[in-house]
Symmetry: C2
């Protein structure tokens, strides 16, 4: 990471660094405008915003595909012997990003950005009204443009259109590897879910604390918990939006959440999840802040960090030793519903449901597998958009035995497809596998992590993560980063062991 260690960097490499600095700043700006769109923007600002985002995307794209880019990369690679390991990794990432950008024509980038921004706004209203028909035309435009971009990019990268889309989020991802892991999970989970539900039945249902839970109290509680994980509110804020997300820049985190008056866990766990994302961004190597190698290593690692905080750490029995008393104090709770054991059992309650972001970690993979299959079918043309609500409902029935009563609880629930994020969903479950594997390695290497969580002290966990994951940015591939941190390649074993331990008690 030592930025000034290389005395005579090739001129071509230095020029590339300046150019990628600008590209990074454009990306930061785009993220801020997206955040504003989701949290602050009045509805009729949508068209002007989509124009802003489209032009900024084009400017970003123009820089990545400048006529002299290939020459500069070639020259820098020819002088690579003079580069240190971080610079060399940076150059490799530059080559990858430029290759991605060159694969999609500029007009298509702009059209896709514009269509996605508009569709996202229409979706927000359609979702409120549970009216899929109201957004179908916009979604159709997004899908057509996404299919076109996927075909072009796949041809350029020499992979399938779907793998091309996936690689925008996860550099090393591919359907072949996903299919193996998802098949493993699909074979394991149904019978395991039955076991868990039977185990839960034998133990009796936990007692739900009685609401309503004041939103202002929830806001304060979420801040307190996020600060325990490591967020500081001189460089972060938490707002409300239809779909929780973490955005902003490392020095200025923007987390969003939805609060429910009848359930404080929903908002709390969202904030903890998004705080996990934010901590990864804040832990990126500062010396490489505006360079490709300083970026987070793809969405699988990103999701691993959010799930590690939310699912592994903050739903652990240890964390509840500390958190339960905070919950009682915040809401003035007393009695059986507010006992630590009961609150923890509520937090790890397994129950098939319609909403992915509310799903427990046992049923969550089914939600992802459904979306993965549906987006493959929509992109290939095997499934028509008009048939999406029905196919969604059929899939939910098949995978989890429940049928959404309306599209708000069905195919309208997630922002991804409507905002143009196709090929993203698999990273959630790959991230869950990685989270289990990393948490296992961390708690083995650092025995103080779990006892510290019982005191609300995340610093041993965060120190290990920073050292083993965050500070590496994009220096290593996802596979290598994970192998160096955990001693083995990504698999489902740690995840399954974790589920057995937590949900069957052994």
């Amino acid at each position: 990471m030592p930025r000034a260690a290389i005395p005579n960097l090739p001129e071509a490499y230095s020029r590339l660094e300046r150019r990628f600095h600008d590209i990074s700043v454009l990306g930061d700006t785009i993220r801020m405008l997206h955040w504003d769109q989701a949290t602050m923007m009045p509805p009729r600002g949508a068209e002007a915003r989509s124009e802003q985002l489209a032009r900024l995307e084009v400017m970003r794209h123009e820089r990545l595909t400048a006529p002299d880019m290939a020459g500069l990369l070639g020259d820098a690679e020819a002088g690579a012997a003079a580069l240190g390991p971080w610079q060399a990794a940076n150059l490799r990432e530059m080559r990858r990003l430029a290759g991605h950008a060159a694969g999609v024509p500029e007009d298509l980038v702009a059209a896709r950005s514009r269509a996605s921004s508009l569709c996202e706004v229409v979706w927000r209203e359609a979702r409120r009204n549970s009216d899929f028909a109201a957004v179908r035309k916009n979604l159709g435009e997004v899908l057509d443009l996404t299919r076109e971009a996927a075909a072009a990019l796949g041809e350029s990268l020499g992979c399938s259109p779907y793998d091309a889309l996936l690689s925008e989020y996860e550099p090393c991802g591919n359907t072949a590897a996903i299919d193996v892991l998802f098949a493993d999970l699909a074979a394991f989970l149904p019978a395991f879910l039955d076991d868990v539900l039977a185990h839960q039945d034998r133990a009796g249902a936990p007692v739900p604390p009685e609401g309503p839970f004041d939103i202002e109290v929830q806001r304060a509680l979420c801040r307190e918990m996020a600060m325990a994980v490591g967020l500081d509110f001189d460089s972060a804020r938490v707002d409300e939006s239809a779909h929780p997300f973490s955005s902003g820049v490392p020095e200025d985190t923007r987390i969003t959440v939805r609060y429910r008056e009848d359930d404080f866990n929903d908002g709390l766990m969202s904030v903890l999840h998004e705080t996990g994302h934010a901590m990864y961004e804040r832990g990126r190597p500062a010396d490489w802040r505006y360079q490709p190698v300083g970026r987070a290593r793809g969405m699988v690692m990103h999701e691993s960090q959010s799930l590690l905080v939310e699912m592994q750490a903050c739903r652990s029995r240890e964390f509840y030793e500390w958190a339960a008393s905070r919950l009682r104090r915040a809401f003035g709770g007393a009695g059986p519903a507010w006992e630590t054991e009961n609150l923890h059992r509520l937090a790890i309650r397994v129950e098939p449901g319609h909403i992915r972001v509310d799903a427990d970690e046992v049923t969550y993979p089914a939600h992802v597998i459904l979306r993965y299959r549906l987006e493959l079918a929509l992109l290939s043309g095997g499934l028509a958009l008009a048939d999406l609500p029905g196919a969604w409902n059929d899939g939910m029935q098949r995978l989890l035995g429940i049928t959404p009563p309306n599209d708000r609880l069905g195919c309208l629930q997630d922002i991804h497809w409507y905002s143009g994020s196709w090929g993203y969903f698999p990273t959630y479950t790959l991230g869950a596998l990685a989270a289990a594997q990393i948490f296992d390695a961390a708690t083995t290497a650092e025995p103080s992590i779990l006892p510290s969580l019982a005191e609300g002290d995340f610093s041993p966990l965060m120190a290990w993560l920073r050292r083993q994951v965050h500070e590496h940015g994009s220096r290593l591939s996802t596979d290598t980063l994970l192998a160096e941190a955990t001693g083995r390649p990504l698999g489902a074993a740690a995840f399954k062991a974790h589920l057995r331990r937590r949900y069957l008690g052994g």
Copy 2:
């Protein structure tokens, strides 16, 4: 305004339109990030934000100063016979903007933007603590860079450094014309102020309604009043910031305000003022939305529109016929303090005070003349920054007979110098003169305007303004626009007549 009326536009002109479209979108983006910085951004986001703004300013500047810009402008001008009047005016504005940009080196643009962003953040804290010393270093950097930019631009445009800065806000502005108008006012106002204060004394003081005034109630009231003027909240929002301003884009207005618990007029009049700005932006010719000719015609006209709404319309006796009952209802007010006549007398109360944005229209010009003289002296080097607080206080004593007790109420009160806006202040008072002249012309031409205000109906006024001012964008010079709307060049006569009528009753 008919956008598609010209069949064979010269290719060079069409290319310029595409380029200036991008430049306009970059400007929109920069404004959004500034708004976020003032309203939403956590404090430690400042450095990353200043980086974003600096790079976007450079991108904007790069486009304005591209190597082929001079050639394109020349080619388009050679083919100007094929252009319609709007296109011709657009080309003239392109030439003007490109000339401005070419006058300042790119590095200096970036350095000035970065220094200003940082200084603005430091100022916010310094202002809170009334600690000028805490921001002096940052302000010194801004001043040095501004002086450097003014010298370069003045040389390039063939005018004085100060006129060069002024021309960034007011294309036709110059110190020679300002000095004449300000001398006229400086000769008129002191004796007039004495007359007004004596007149007020004879009438006895109005009774101030007793606070505190609930902030939530103020927020709702401000929305109601802004909607009466013409704002709709599907395309606007009102937030809070240290210094009230109007920003955003025509379809997505972002107004900010400061509310005071002890005085509802302060927030209300700020919102009405900023709504006047916003209505001008929203009335810009839609077909030319992203072109230079579609922009508002400089800051004098802009300030005329805000002051026309705030000072001319919303402090009129007619408006209070309608507004007073809303004020009584909102705050549950009853008794002598809440009578229409008394509320109106409070709204037009003249009283020398420290704060420019709180000043009445009789003393306001003194605040501006002070700042104008001080910034001329600071830029020329005749006044050292260390001596600014003292010079400020001396000037206040000389011009208004009062001395600020601290710098928060003195030279720290306004954001302008700290955020890099030098040469801006004169436009406030020029705008006040223009507002009086335009309102006089409007109410003469359209006799329904004043009676409609008494019913809370701004539509006759806004229709006239849209037709006579807003819809012309930058097609005409400020002088011509004003002469066509009012039948005469900018002068102080209408302003003085207005003051005599309102404050001396005839």
